[in-house]
Amino acid sequence: MSLLDALPAPRLGRGSYPNVVLVSLSAVMLAAIWGLDAVSMAPNRIVQGTGAGVMEALGWPGALLASLLVLALGALAFRPNPTNYSAALGVVVLILALMPFGLMVAGHFLIDPALPQARLGIGAGYWVVLFVLLLCLIELRLRLALTRLWPMLILAGVGLLWWLCAWLWLGDLALVQEYRARDQQLIRAVGQHVVLVSVAVSISVVLGTLLALLMRRYARLQKGAFAILNFLQTIPSLALFGLLLAPLAWLSANVPVLAKLGVSGIGNTPALIALVAYSLLPMVRNTYIALEEVSADTLEAASAMGMRASQRFWQVRLPLALPVLLEGVRITTVQAIGLTAVAALIGAGGLGTFIFQGLGQAAMDMVLLGALPILILALLVDAALGALAEALRPGGVQ
């Protein structure tokens, strides 16, 4: 995120010339509304759905309303000033809030109540509009110079509304049907995912910090350790999981004690080993750099004032290094969330199960059911740890 801080502050336009970004984003949305399928419907879970355009899905009043809202957003962007930007933000939130209702309308028009298996899929047009709206949100946050908290609050509110709609009225939606069919399984998978990630990250935080401290003491260790960790990080995840399978399977077959402890070729053990192996590099690197980068002048001043080595470490070096160190934890955790999904391939469970099972069965909604929580989890962790690092930055120093 430091990149953005280095950028010139976006100017709040002084009225004369339009905000090209929002205007183009509105144009993209209009094109998506009219050019792409808004929704698709399928008679059952496996059959590929048939697409339906905006007129079919929403009827002309709905299509008109959608287009007008998007046009209003574009029009507001033509005269950029704080008032208009605030209004545009309102429009964006309004569209986001109306989106599930659009799906309800589409369900009402397109789904035959006589077919219990029939389901409504979300079409490319809907996804594109959703994505572009999120871009608008980012743009507006930057122009209005709002803190990161704002989009979080807005998205949380909108998410809650969607959840409510999905729960109460959107029974036709394929995603909802898929969820209802296996909600216990999904909740368990989220739990497994979180546990795997937390265990792997906790282990690598401890190991990584130890390793970084050792490296600072024994300079010779540094080169070799970084070379090995770099090497590990380079190996693709699928390959590393694969390469761990064989020796672990052999170990569990030939060393009964280990097998009793739960070590096996398939499952959590190779997943954890691989996750920790991957997590170590960002962890060690950031910890090492964080501790090394503390200004030599500051440390010299600390010694000159008569601080002992341990006081220097705990009272000066560590607090100053903490934000960068946390940055390492953030990168590690976000990376681990993605990698854990791959671990499902070797039987570690978690949300990846849904993705790969869904792909195997060509059930796209199941894939979505696995992928969306992963995405949300990653974004949440990113935001939370980012905010924590920001808060711990001593005195707001860069």
Binding site: A239, L240, G265, I374
Partner: protein, 261 residues
Amino acid sequence: MTHSATRRSAGGVHVTQDHLWMRPLFWGVLLCICVAGIPYADALFRWLEPDARQVIYQRAPFYALLSRHLLVVGVAAVVTIAVGVAAGIAVTRKRGRDFLPLVAQLASLGQTFPPVAVLALAVPVLGFGTLPIIMALMLYGLLPIVRNTLAGLQEVDADIKMSARAMGMTPAQILYQVELPLAAPVILAGIRTSVTINIATAALGATVGASNLGDPIIAGIINGNMAYVVQGALIIALLALTLDSLFDSMQTRWRQRLSSS
């Protein structure tokens, strides 16, 4: 993310001029040996899977899998480099400046999206097979390149750009003769990250119907045949190491050109 996180060579081993290309060569040769030799290493893999009916992956020859893998990653890389660098340049010019905050924010936010999730989300929209994989790789691989292009261009000292302008260089001359050469190492690091991620993600493409080096691994896991898994994993790992060390050598070379006579 801090720059410390975007640069990979915190502990990079110093390589002298003569030995610069030795490591990629070493891994490359090893890769070729594996691709050519595995079909004849029946005895070796039999030891790993004594009970299996066959221990060498037969559905397609390894060189075909390798070339398909390389093709997918290569096509995606060429397109992402062209588009990503162009986008990075465009939003740092006067005309595209308006898009800069959004693009910068998006590029750093995009790092948060796990590649698996992106791949999984691409399938419902794009369908099964090789083309969707390439599309997904392009979408995902774009972000590190854009990000590093922006970072690289922004890192060029403002005084150097100003003095280039003051000497009467045209905007195009400043871009090609000053900004891009100075940003090149950072851009190259972005390309390296992008390609490394793409090699790994392309392997996952085997689960959505692309036939490449991920195939033996997936097939091995499904059939419980460790020999297949090891064969696929070995070749992918060697491919990744070859390309990564190649990039490492290129970066070292560039740094040498920038910093010494």
